[in-house]
Symmetry: C2
Subunit: 75 residues, 2 copies
Amino acid sequence: MLKVRVLVRPKPGILDPQGEAVKGALPALGFEGVGTVHVGRLIELEVESERDVDAMCRRLLANPTTEEYEWEVVG
Amino acid sequence: MLKVRVLVRPKPGILDPQGEAVKGALPALGFEGVGTVHVGRLIELEVESERDVDAMCRRLLANPTTEEYEWEVVG
């Protein structure tokens, strides 16, 4: 089995409420010097072959309207 | 500014309903040969220094009871 890591993030310009929430909370905890913050999804799955990973991303793992994705074999 | 990528995933043995949901949906869409599936969070942030990233993870970005994290500077 191959171990695949998929990273899904909001497309640029798309509202990212989770990212905004983290960006607002960090200074409140005393962390300064933070710029942009974006929150997305990490999906790690075992697959028999890489052949279908792109289709899995397009059809299920990422919302093509609001999200972009990248993936790599990590093990 | 440094670009940091934080990956947050459920600790082994911790219930992962999102992972289970994806694992169940993939065969329904015709994707066979899928093993374990885990869903976590991807956080990408710009910081002036790496110094506080671990503390940010421990205090805000990851739940120390149910999640583990790793991070790297990516840009």
